[in-house]
């Protein structure tokens, strides 16, 4: 099976060079993304892992993709792997003409093919272990108490080394019937991961409807190359007639597409139990509003979708959509992440620090893309003793006139600025004075 470097090389133009960051956060047990009625499914746990991909060329960052992998473990065996594509963005500073669609397709295919057991080897437990608070420094420990603990350790010349067993859990079985899901929300936005990049005239932003087709073709292609059976593929465009929604299926090779969502609910079921909540997820926020407005026990799925389009994030006239697919992977699929194709961070703090060198920069001019690349490389070198993955493209160039490169920009889902804090605003570099 080709590794990540080879996969990307195959879609990048020959004789051009790239640097890839593949960052992976720690795998953590999290609360369910579906609201469950209390106390069902005690034997179930959900493991969340964040991936962040950044592609650079000519010492300039130009592409980033953020996604989350959720692995469901039931009775000690993996039953489901769900990939939530959170954000993708380009900034227009790549000097080569290349297909961002192919890059995205290859990365999504790579993530799809990763054996889910990779995510459940070392899971940080959700419930923190019982600890002796006179001996352990936690996030709630006061400065004074922490000093006392450090003094005691220093006196006794001891170190506190928490036993792995109380912090981590491990699983090593996969249910033979396990399935893989891919979910995303599409909405065209001028920028998300690269702030101010819409000021770059070379950046092209797709319309909402073109963006939806762009993603459908990627998902379609990943489904065909990696999935084998029990395939379901669903598209929901809030506020759109079914017939109009179906038009998007015309160019898809996969024959399974239907209007609807993946989550099995009947239209009369309560939305709150049948809609998942992902990070920075507009439909999740609407769900929260329902809960806060004491309407959660009333709103059915069909009403949920109907009302969703009235929400600010859905109503500005642009086509937005919710895509969900599911199926069993081909038995040949099942890779392990090789140590040299991923930088795994042991904490979310470190993950966010690395990510902030990308998302906190100002991409109004090319300088931002250069500075982000320099900072990223220097940080990896100085703090983590590692470096980016060097890739040389091998895709034969078709004879095309040399032009101003027109990048396909897969812009995604910026939450509406006035209602919600953007994930990346918390990470802005050299931020404004308070």
């Amino acid at each position: 099976m080709p590794n990540l470097r080879e996969l990307l090389a195959s879609v990048l133009p020959e004789l051009t060079n790239y640097d890839l960051l593949h960052l992976k956060g720690p795998s953590r047990e999290v609360n369910p993304i579906f609201l469950t009625r209390r106390h069902d499914d005690d034997a179930l746990s959900l493991v969340k892992t964040q991936h962040f991909f950044v592609l650079s060329s000519g010492n300039k960052v130009f592409y980033a993709l953020e996604l989350y992998v959720y692995v469901t473990v039931k009775n000690c065996a993996v039953t489901e792997k769900l990939i939530f594509v959170s954000k993708a963005d380009t900034n227009g500073y790549c000097d080569h003409k290349l297909s961002v669609r192919d890059v995205t397709r290859v990365i999504l295919g790579y993530i799809t093919s990763i054996n889910p057991l990779c995510y459940v080897k070392d899971i940080l437990k959700l419930s923190k272990p019982q600890r002796d608070h006179s001996k352990v420094v936690t996030q709630h420990t006061t400065t004074r108490k922490a000093l006392k603990i450090l003094i005691n350790r220093s006196r006794a010349s001891t170190k506190y080394i928490p036993s792995n067993d109380i912090l981590y859990q491990h699983f090593n079985q996969v249910s033979p019937n396990w399935t893989c899901q891919i979910c995303l929300f599409t909405r065209s936005e001028p920028e998300y991961l690269f702030s101010q990049s819409s000021q770059n005239p070379r950046k092209h932003v797709l319309s909402g409807s073109a963006l939806l087709s762009w993603w459908l073709s990627i998902i379609d292609s990943v489904m065909i190359s990696h999935f084998e059976s029990d395939i379901r593929a669903r598209l929901q465009i809030p506020g759109e007639e079914d017939n109009a929604t179906r038009k998007y299926f015309q160019s898809s090779k996969l024959t399974y597409w239907q209007v609807g969502d993946l989550f099995n609910g009947k239209s009369s079921d309560l939305a709150v139990f049948n809609i998942p909540v992902f990070p920075d997820d507009p439909k999740g926020r609407f769900l929260e509003q329902l809960v806060e407005g004491d309407r959660a026990r009333k709103v059915q799925l069909n009403e949920f979708w109907a009302e969703l389009q009235i929400q600010q994030e859905f109503r500005l006239g642009e086509t937005v959509s919710v895509i969900g697919t599911e199926g069993k992977l081909k038995s040949s699929v099942g890779r392990v992440m090789a140590a040299d194709e991923v930088i795994s961070t042991s904490s979310r703090k470190l993950f966010n620090t690395v990510k902030s060198y990308i998302t906190g920069e100002d991409y109004g001019t090319e300088e931002g893309a250069l500075e982000a690349f320099a900072n990223l490389s220097d940080f990896l070198h100085l703090r983590l003793g590692t470096k980016l993955i060097r890739i040389q493209g091998i895709k034969p160039m078709t004879s095309q006139p040399v032009n101003v490169p027109e990048l396909k920009v897969g812009k995604r889902s910026e939450i509406s600025r006035d209602t919600v804090r953007s994930l990346d605003r918390t990470l802005v570099r050299k931020r404004q004075k308070k």
Binding site: T138, V291, T353, D378
Partner: protein
């Protein structure tokens, strides 16, 4: 009559503002005078704690946003940081004026060990601004009234590894490459030492922000950051904002306000 009463009340209000400001100033000077010797004791204690400032500056999530990642190699060389306020000796001094002294350890063949003191003063005369950048007349009037932070450029020896971006050494500023390097160097922590506050938009970006970060947060709260870095479970060492992975919960109990209290909580 009512108008006269209003005028009188507004005048009284203005007087109160002056009184409040005088009290705040007086109390702040007292506070700094009492804290200064304690901070001096603290600096002595810190000497006995290996890598104290490296730990603090790595733990501080905002500091790294002001400097370049390449600077971190030399940030790790910081042996001590110390902030002093002239008002503790001379109560007529503006209590917002201060100096920051940083003691760098050297790196053989690359970076000289040195102790550098940067002095910050409050200026009211906007005619001293050599570049006004985008500042509007209104903003300048406000600066004139409240005063704004300035600093004397101070000598610091740059690491040799930064020669290509050291703005003092970049000779050929007419080429694209030279320009780029000059601008890159301007973002380095080392360029901050040259920051004056008088060339808006033409020197180390947000130099007053970094000065204030040292003065108001890193220096006074260094012990807190040091102990936070000692959290035993690495994944708990994280900003509050990122801890929002909470589940949706339906209130099933009568008068259960969990979710609301979450929403309003700071």
């Amino acid at each position: 009559m009512d108008e006269a009463n209003l005028t009188k009340s507004l005048e009284a209000l203005a007087g109160v503002e002056d009184d409040v400001e005088a009290v705040e100033r007086e109390v702040e000077i007292l506070r700094l005078s009492k804290l200064s010797p304690i901070y001096a004791t603290r600096n002595k204690a810190i000497v006995g704690i290996p890598e104290f400032w490296k730990v603090v500056l790595s733990q501080h999530s905002d500091f790294a946003n002001y400097v370049r990642a390449a600077d971190l190699k030399y940030v790790d060389c910081i042996n001590s940081i110390s902030v002093k306020w002239p008002c503790t000796d001379d109560t007529t001094a503006d209590n917002r004026e201060f100096s920051i002294t940083i003691d760098f350890e050297g790196i053989e063949g690359d970076f000289d060990s040195q102790v550098v003191t940067k002095v910050f003063k409050i200026e009211h005369d906007v005619s001293k601004l050599r570049y006004k950048g985008k500042a509007t007349e209104e903003e300048l009037l406000r600066d004139e009234e409240l005063g704004f932070l300035t600093s004397t450029p101070c000598e610091i020896k740059w690491p040799k590894s930064f020669n290509h971006i050291n703005p003092g050494l970049v000779v050929d500023k007419s080429t694209v490459e030279g320009k780029k390097n000059y601008r890159t160097g301007m973002k380095s922590l080392f360029a901050w030492f040259k920051w004056t506050g008088l060339k808006l938009g033409k020197e180390f970006p947000n130099g007053d922000g970094l000065a204030a970060l040292f003065r108001d947060d890193i220096f006074p709260n260094c012990t807190k950051y040091y102990t936070e870095a000692q959290i035993d479970l690495e994944d708990e060492n994280i900003e509050e904002e990122d801890m929002s992975d909470e589940p949706l919960q339906l209130d099933s109990d009568f008068d259960d306000y969990e979710r609301d209290s979450k929403r309003h909580k700071a």
